[in-house]
């Protein structure tokens, strides 16, 4: 794994850019612990101050320091994305590996359900969910629901890898060396699937954070918890663009765009690395 990352770093400019962007965003979010103000409180600084030495990113109409607010929002948003990605990875791995390895009716049944989850439009369901939950909607509940819908596409990818692994002879060797199904899946197949898990996790974070931003902007989440979407929501509520408080909207959008492009670049390069043919082209190997 370390060797793979080193190869990626050397051979792909995209990977370097992605890593730098993500590292920057992570750093910014890590600063949240040093925030001088409690993140949820308002009117702690003078409102509507443009970016200056005292307030690097300016202040909002609600009297918050954009820099520290953004740092906390990034942390919360990343945490949200990571939770969704983690839970949905577990579901995708279990379903994908099992479906690919077992085949037969297990595979057919799981994949029918899987295909259903892929095509169902999620946003109306999330809106409906918000509609019935209203103020009781917590970020964790939202993360859980998104995780329940965010595994399907990736389970299909993992399944196709698992199917090709199943057909390979070393799986039979493991079987006849006395390994159980669980051992084969975990010890023999999982390492081959990890690169896919990594790249889909990045993509999944892009997806879930994007959806969260969207919902928050419309006011369909817990907007009192600082997130990137929440910041844009409040900025819209105070007509920040019209009022000329552009920094309130510009910095969150810049940060989230950097994060998206960074994560996406990591996913794309990891994907290119997985595909042996493109790996052959960039790194070369025996003939």
């Amino acid at each position: 794994m370390a060797g793979a990352i080193r190869d990626l770093f050397r051979d792909h400019a995209e990977f370097r850019i992605g890593a730098v962007l993500v590292a920057f965003v992570l750093l910014l979010s890590a600063l949240a612990s040093f925030s001088p103000y409690p993140p949820e409180s308002v009117y702690v600084v003078p409102p509507d101050v443009p970016p200056s030495l005292a307030y690097w990113f300016g202040t909002t109409s609600r009297g918050q320091d954009v820099f520290w607010e953004l740092s906390v929002a990034l942390r919360n948003t990343l945490l949200f994305g990571a939770v969704v990605a983690m839970i949905s990875r577990v579901i995708a791995l279990v379903i994908g590996l099992l479906s690919g390895y077992k085949g037969g009716w297990v595979d057919r049944a799981l994949m029918s359900v899987n295909d259903t989850f892929i095509v169902i439009p999620l946003l109306p369901l999330l809106v409906l969910f918000y509609f019935v939950m209203r103020d009781r909607m917590s970020w964790l509940a939202l993360a859980l629901i998104m995780a329940c819908f965010g595994w399907a596409y990736d389970a299909r990818l993992i399944r196709s890898v698992a199917m090709s692994l199943k057909a390979r002879e070393f799986t039979q060797t493991s079987l006849f060396s006395g390994m159980s199904t669980r051992e084969i899946l975990v010890q023999e197949h999982l390492p081959h699937v990890m690169p896919v898990v990594f790249s889909t996790a990045m993509n999944n974070m892009v997806w879930s954070i994007g959806l969260e931003v969207t919902l928050a902007v419309l006011g369909f989440t817990d907007v009192n918890r600082p997130t990137i979407g929440g910041m844009i929501y409040w900025a819209n509520q105070h007509a920040a663009m019209v009022a000329g408080v552009w920094w309130w909207i510009a910095f969150p959008i810049a940060a989230v765009t950097m994060m998206f492009i960074g994560l996406f670049l990591l996913a794309v390069t990891a994907n290119a690395y997985i595909d042996p043919r493109s790996r052959f082209r960039t790194i070369g190997g025996a003939f």
Partner: protein
């Protein structure tokens, strides 16, 4: 038709169909900062005469496929031609397809030089009927109206005993043998001067293999084309090749007429290849060759076969033997037959 006149006796006056001189092709890779160089083809010279089937034998990693790719002009990184010339009777002066201008390459392909590849399932576009493939590959070279082309196509298929219904089929609708026969028809429809065949029967069952070989040989004799046939299967060479070159680890180690090679193999590796194969009706115990083929990223010094050679001498590990002619048309690279090198 231009390829009809077949000289029965290859004379020195007529230039050979293909001549490869001192070809060196390396794979250059750079992994974790360490440069690796795999010398897949390392100084090979050979000629393919007009109207003959020249067989190249060798195991995996001997460089025979690399050599073919060089001749075919299919050079992609990390593969690199480091030195040497490839000249064709129909395209000379450039030193190979990879150096010829695109217009010349386009003129030559399929009209003068065609290919039969291994694995017919993958070489035919799965989404295209065979008729379209024939049109794509051959029609621009043949010209005329589509009706004329269709008639020519039918005549060609009939000559190869193929039903014309194959034209309406998709590749997946045909059996493996049928697909390979269609590929042979595709490669010969323009009556090319030189056909390159890369393991054309390896994936086929024995019964079909024999048919396809007969087909290649039959149409070759009829058209007078030359064929460069690569396969590791000595049985195939015995049955269809006119002359035979044996490759080992990027070198050509022996070359002679097929009959001569089988009657009088000189190089220890050739001897082993021929003697180790069991035959039906022969109960003598045989043994395999010890050791393993060398790693071409780090080949042994001297003769590359010496670590496995039963006749290895001191000189073998020091310097590489040159190809020397021991009898007319029989060349071998081995110090055992090389007066100047020792023994």
């Amino acid at each position: 038709m231009h390829a009809q006149a077949v000289p029965d006796v290859p004379s020195e006056a007529v230039p050979p169909m293909l001549s490869v001189r001192d070809l060196r092709t390396y794979y250059r890779a750079n992994r974790l900062g360490i440069k690796r160089e795999v010398k897949a083809v390392d100084g090979i010279s050979l000629t393919v005469r007009r109207g003959e089937i020249y067989g190249l034998a060798g195991e995996s990693g001997s460089g025979k496929s690399t050599l073919l790719n060089c001749v075919a002009g299919a050079i992609r990184p990390p593969m690199e031609i480091v030195g040497g010339d490839i000249d064709f009777a129909f395209l000379s002066g450039y030193g190979g397809l990879h150096r010829a201008p695109p217009a010349e390459v386009a003129r030559v392909r399929w009209r003068h030089l065609s290919y039969i590849m291994q694995g017919s399932m993958n070489v035919l576009n799965p989404l295209r009927r065979l008729r379209s493939v024939f049109v794509d590959f051959a029609y621009p070279h043949v010209g005329g109206t589509r009706q004329q082309f269709e008639r020519q196509l039918h005549a060609h298929l009939a000559r190869l005993n193929l039903d014309r219904s194959v034209l309406s089929a998709y590749p997946h609708e045909l059996s493996g043998g049928m697909r390979q026969r269609a590929t042979v028809a595709l490669a010969t429809v323009c009556r090319p001067d030189l056909i390159i065949a890369d393991e054309p029967t390896t994936a086929l069952d024995v019964l079909v293999q024999k048919e396809v070989l007969g087909m290649i040989r039959g149409i070759q004799r009829e058209m007078g084309s030359s064929v460069l046939l690569v396969t590791h299967d000595m049985g195939v060479h015995a049955h269809v090749s006119d002359r035979l070159g044996i490759m080992y680890a990027g070198h050509l180690v022996e070359e002679a007429g097929t009959a001569e090679i089988f009657r009088n193999p000189l190089h220890p590796y050739t001897k082993h290849l021929i003697s180790s194969l069991p035959r039906i009706g022969d109960d003598a115990p045989r043994c395999g060759l010890g050791g393993a083929p060398p790693n071409l990223a780090d080949p042994p010094l001297g003769c590359r076969f010496h670590p496995r050679c039963p006749l290895a001498m001191k000189v073998c590990s020091g310097e590489a033997p040159a190809m020397l002619e021991t009898a007319p048309g029989h060349r071998v690279a081995c110090f055992a037959y090389n007066q100047s090198g020792g023994a």
